[in-house]
């Protein structure tokens, strides 16, 4: 017990009106699905609601509704009119931000301070940002010239987008997918992750509140089979997926030989590179943010720390001291830094890889922390003495587990950072500007952060190299994936 014991400071749940059951959102209405499943709070295993499971036939209804909305209303609506709906959605998200944040933390397990300060504001920001693009699409495509020669014609949308999103940032990933699709004039059928459907369903309510024309946004809940039905539906023109590389491969195969356009946002094993001239205290913050933000359930997490040997001991000592102040527990407590692991399945995967790390000879360390009895929990963990040959240096753990490797020269740092099948993100820590630029140039990663980590902004494109996927989301580049040109 420390001298300054922070009293519990829970955010109230009362703002969220949970319904006992939720239907599918098709053609502007909530309808029954073929089956149903329970969704829980990973922090307590409490059942929150019963959610409809969409069958292939349900998905077909949703795609048909999206097609009708595309042809009758949305595809031909002037951009400036579409923008009004997007601005309205953005404002409602901002207005209902507390409700969305509490629901997100309940269903996902992430700390309320993150859903409140990161997920929800960024989701609103994405809608605001793409709302601004809706009537400026000719400027989104470099060198755009209308085929028929008359000025003012916009690049054409693709049609119906089938979108499948992960459980780590349920509302934010929804915003990343839906905002650019709608701005460009597409209609969507979106499948949220099986374990985190609730904020997507609240978003469906927001679409009703914004009086979005029926069928423009359809939400079909369910597991892998529902997702496959969305991806494989013959009348889907565009597939957008964020999730594991394993599923990404299946999707790439499924759409091969069709006319569907695809963007894939997959896994990562990012290197966070700390040079000996780094601002050490801030680098430690960046390392902590890089791997323990959102329990490490982040595709661009800085899961490999590459630290220059000459400062390694000193840095690790600081890192451990800092980790000892992380507060693990109730996601709804405003002082919680690290929340619950999203599912039993994910927890067992993290545990298994951590066991492998120990078995391979790496040294495992966690601060003393009491974990709640119920729910899915994993203490923040670091492995030192890791080498490139270890599985924990190569495989994506997708949890609060950091692998620490050392290097001696800048060349070695680059070599190790790039020696991975992934290439989503990387971090560089140095007080020397010229070094940052030189190293960033050599890293094969879609996003390179300098003296910061896990910073997201709707204006900035995001995406990977190699097995981290293809296509870019965010910024002007994010629109191109939804335009036929």
């Amino acid at each position: 017990m420390s001298a300054f014991e922070y009293a519990p400071a829970p955010e109230s749940r009362s703002i969220v009106k949970l319904q006992p059951s939720y239907g599918l959102f098709i053609n502007g209405e909530f309808v029954d699905g073929a089956g149903s499943f329970k969704t829980i709070s990973p922090a307590s295993e409490e059942v929150l609601a019963e959610v409809a499971e969409a069958s292939t036939a349900d998905v077909d209804r949703a795609v048909k509704a999206a097609r009708r909305a595309y042809e009758d209303v949305w595809g031909s609506m002037p951009g400036r009119e579409r923008a009004k709906y997007l601005f309205r959605i953005a404002r409602i998200i901002a207005e209902r931000s507390r409700e969305l944040a509490v629901l997100e933390s309940l269903n996902n397990g992430k700390p309320i301070k993150e859903s409140r300060d990161v997920d929800v504001p960024l989701a609103a920001a994405h809608f605001f940002y793409y709302a601004g693009w809706a009537d400026k699409l000719p400027y989104a495509v470099p060198g755009w010239k209308p085929a028929d020669g008359h000025s003012g014609a916009d690049p054409r949308p693709l049609g119906v987008a089938g979108q499948v999103i992960p459980w780590n940032f349920p509302l934010l990933m929804l915003a990343w997918k839906i905002a650019p699709a709608l701005a460009a004039g597409n209609t969507v059928v979106l499948k949220p992750a099986e374990t985190t459907p609730l904020t997507a369903l609240l978003f469906a309510e927001i679409c009703q509140q914004a009086e979005l024309p029926p069928g423009v946004v359809n939400i079909v809940t369910g597991a892998g089979e529902t997702g496959a039905a969305v991806v494989n539906h013959p009348d889907v023109d565009k597939v957008a997926f964020t999730g594991s590389t394993e599923v990404g491969r299946i999707i790439a195969k499924a759409v091969a030989g069709t006319n569907k356009k695809v963007t894939l946002e997959l896994g990562g094993k990012a290197a966070n590179i700390v040079f000996d001239d780094a601002a050490i205290d801030q680098a430690v913050e960046g390392i902590v943010n890089g791997i323990f933000f959102n329990q490490g359930h982040v595709c661009c997490a800085g899961s490999r720390l590459l630290v220059q040997e000459s400062v390694a001991d000193q840095l690790l000592e600081s890192l451990k001291r800092r980790m000892a102040t992380l507060r693990v527990g109730d996601p709804l407590d405003k002082n919680t830094d690290v929340g619950a692991i999203n599912s039993a399945e994910q927890l067992s995967r993290i545990k298994a890889l951590a066991e492998i790390g120990s078995a391979e000879g790496a040294e495992r360390w966690s601060p003393a922390c009491e974990l709640p009895e119920r729910g899915f929990w994993f203490a923040p963990t670091i492995f030192t003495g890791v080498s490139q040959a270890h599985r924990i240096a190569r495989e994506e753990i997708f949890g609060p587990v950091l692998s620490v490797l050392t290097f001696r020269t800048p060349g070695e740092a680059v070599e190790k950072a790039n020696n991975t099948p992934y290439g989503l993100s990387a971090g560089i820590w140095s007080e020397k500007g010229s070094r940052i630029l030189a190293i960033a140039d050599q890293l094969r990663a879609g996003v390179v952060w300098a003296n910061t980590f896990n910073k997201f902004d709707p204006t900035s494109p995001f995406g990977g190299y190699k097995e981290s996927g293809y296509g870019r989301e965010g910024g002007r580049h994010g629109l191109e994936a939804y335009l036929a040109g």
């Binding site: 300054f4 922070y6 205290d281």
Partner: protein, 315 residues
């Protein structure tokens, strides 16, 4: 973060050695430091934790009056308030110290006798420090002789910014000697040092020279104390303890007016330097108006309702 030059006394043998050491300290990334301070500022301190923090903050206040218009009457009134901040509530603790100009020390010493409350005096040509060393030393000795047991000195920011680190160092050493048994707080005047790298270097310089406390500001220059600057100084005292085994205190001063702010500082002390510093011997608030807000929040917490400012004494 510790620069491992051993023994540390070697680093002050010449201007060049001192410069090499101070410039060899890890840099501070301003954006990152600001973000960390802001992040800690979002901690939510409620109920029992808040009550505990308010009482600790009261016990950490250096109740200050540093005006040209100060009179013995004003100082006596302040001393009475220091002893008994809330006359209506005997459970309210006294403050840590009174902080006045040297000419007011005899009056304050008389008024505080037997209370256990420390008596701090600013000295060394406060607030600018622009006077010959001899004047500064006399200023210090006079304050100590009159009864001050804590001296708040200012460093020569001009010399520091000109890179004459050894001169600044030697001046602090001389003042420390003139203090005798009195504790020495070294005011960095961070608002004039401007960069966080300078704040870190000045902190180490003051600690190497024997300062018992490092203090942000005189309160006469804006910006005075800020959360990020205090963060840098808390990191410095933490690292200095690791390196040398000697603990140095921290005193943010100027601009801290609300309970909410004070609690943010205490959270930062707790999570950056550690709970060893959660003690009036190692952390102080230099403030004049903060105390009344602490008292008002204390009463609110105990009774459930706010009384107006008229229910708390002006001084």
């Amino acid at each position: 973060m510790t620069a491992t030059i051993s023994p540390l006394s070697e680093v002050t043998r010449s201007d060049a050695a001192l410069r090499t050491f101070l410039h060899g300290l890890p840099g501070v990334d301003r954006v990152g430091a600001d973000a960390r301070a802001a992040g800690l500022g979002t901690r939510s301190i409620k109920t029992t934790a808040k009550a505990w923090a308010i009482d600790l903050a009261i016990r950490m206040v250096d109740l200050t009056t540093l005006e040209g218009a100060d009179t013995p009457g004003k100082v006596r009134a302040l001393c009475a308030k220091a002893r008994q901040p809330d006359p209506g509530d005997p459970t309210c603790p006294p403050v840590a110290a009174i902080c006045v100009y040297p000419s007011m020390v005899p009056t304050a010493a008389e008024a505080l006798r037997g209370s256990g409350i420390h008596l701090a005096s600013v000295a060394t040509a406060f607030p600018s420090g622009q006077a010959p060393l001899k004047v500064k030393l006399d200023d210090t000795r006079a304050a100590v002789a009159a009864g001050a047991d804590e001296i708040d000195m200012v460093i020569s920011r001009g010399a520091f910014l000109a890179g004459r680190y050894l001169e600044v160092f030697e001046e602090i050493v001389a003042i420390k000697e003139a203090c005798g048994k009195a504790h020495l707080k070294v005011i960095l005047e961070t608002g004039e040092l401007v960069t966080y790298d300078n704040v870190r270097r000045a902190s180490w310089l003051a600690m190497l020279a024997g300062g018992d406390f490092i203090k942000t500001s005189t309160g006469k220059v804006a910006p005075a104390a800020t959360l990020p600057v205090t963060l840098i100084m808390l990191e410095a005292v933490r690292d200095f303890l690791d390196t040398t085994g000697r603990q140095v205190g921290v005193k943010p001063a100027g601009g801290i007016r609300t309970t909410k702010d004070a609690i943010k500082y205490l959270v930062m002390v707790n999570e950056i330097a550690g709970e060893r510093w959660l003690d009036p011997d190692w952390f102080r608030f230099g403030a004049s108006t903060l105390l009344n807000d602490l008292l008002m929040q204390r009463t609110k917490l105990a009774t459930g309702h706010y009384s107006g400012p008229d229910y708390f004494t002006l001084d």
